[in-house]
Symmetry: C2
Subunit: 233 residues, 2 copies
């Protein structure tokens, strides 16, 4: 991993939305890197020396499945911390997905050492890991959805919640291929699900990457039929 010292460290949290607390105590340790799309941040199996945080752009954690396909385990947007490893090695490979993605890297040992003497920081780190956990759980719920349309719909809602304010259109940070690998679907099914939602009037496109969400409920259940609890007689 290549790390560049950042000349002006002050402004680098301005684009974060998810981060409620700014982990100021850690800022002194941070090194910020600018990455091209596809560039690697850390690699599975390599010594896990750093924690990371997305400042701008987007990144992903992924694995290669035995059948040659890729699975994206985690989509990382501004404010998201990642690469918390249990052991001494990274458990996943992380890459930038957008051109010009900014990643902050915190040396793990020093961060932990600092946390030992600063309870407030320790709490904030705990919070960051809790957030990481919440992200994984949200993803589990999406993968657990019944059909493809519901999965894609839930993802759209998730993205909206994470990176745009209600009412504004969502700009998809990743391609259809990435969405497919993220939801364990084929590209074609992702595309079809989107056009399906479009035809139903649940979403409106302005360009292939900009989506205006119209009908939230339709996105959630992914089923044109009346949404009612199945009652056992």
């Amino acid at each position: 991993m290549r790390l560049h010292q950042n000349r002006d460290i002050e402004f680098r949290f301005e684009n974060r939305k998810g981060a409620h607390r700014s982990l100021r105590q850690l800022d002194a340790l941070a090194v910020v890197t600018r990455l091209r799309r596809g560039e690697e941040i850390c690699r599975q199996g390599h010594p896990a020396g750093h924690w990371h945080c997305v400042l701008q752009g987007a990144a992903e954690r992924s694995v290669l499945k035995l059948d040659g396909r890729r699975q994206i385990v985690d989509l990382l947007l501004p404010g998201d911390f990642f690469a918390f490893a249990i052991g001494q090695e990274y458990d996943f490979t992380s890459c930038a997905v957008l051109e010009g993605t900014l990643i902050a890297s915190y040396p793990r040992r020093q961060a932990e050492w600092l946390a030992d003497s600063d309870p407030a920081l320790a709490r904030e780190i705990r919070e960051a890991v809790f957030n990481s956990l919440a992200r994984m759980q949200a993803q589990l719920l999406i993968l657990g959805r019944v059909n493809a349309v519901a999965k894609v719909g839930s993802l759209l809602l998730d993205l909206e919640a994470r990176l745009s304010r209600r009412g504004e259109p969502v700009v998809l940070p990743i391609s259809r291929y990435d969405i497919a690998d993220y939801l364990s679907l084929s590209v074609e099914t992702v595309s079809r699900s989107l056009t399906d939602l479009k035809h139903r009037g649940a979403i409106v496109f302005s360009g292939t990457r900009r989506v205006q969400i119209v009908d939230r409920d339709a996105l959630e259940d992914g089923d044109g039929e009346a949404r009612m609890m199945r009652v056992r007689h």
Copy 2:
């Protein structure tokens, strides 16, 4: 939630396997409850006042999907901590799945307060959350598997790693129905996948709940064909 004071607190960690450190500092705060199968530990939406840890038996965190189906988000075995919430409310409902499951409950505020003055404890809590995170990620990988047989196979391997030593048969802590809700499959598909693996000689049953794992590779790829990387010419 009903909590009983435990008369002899000393022995309660003896059945834990996953826990590498025992969070001794927290033991003073712990209250242990014995639960019947199906009994609730905490409920989604209620104030999240406690962290929990399975001491014996098994538990699950689940949600009810809009179509009336249940999704199990997390399977909890001895040594697993859970119910780390970001906000003030539990994000999932947790239930015991086995008769006589023992759950330790730690008051959250006191635990955090204690962690503030004890860096070693703070680290151990961090580790516990990291483990929680690792569990979620492993589950994501299982859900991402291509076909049903691979999902079921991976789950068996996961269970083996978590609660029995290599060579010994795995005792399934949950029913086929629970496995179905855990893997987002139908009960029938779970059953068929198991008999499929049995016919292939990958596993051997001794009773419906005891499985001897014979061929690990066959469980992993869930495909009878030769396991080779697909090469683009």
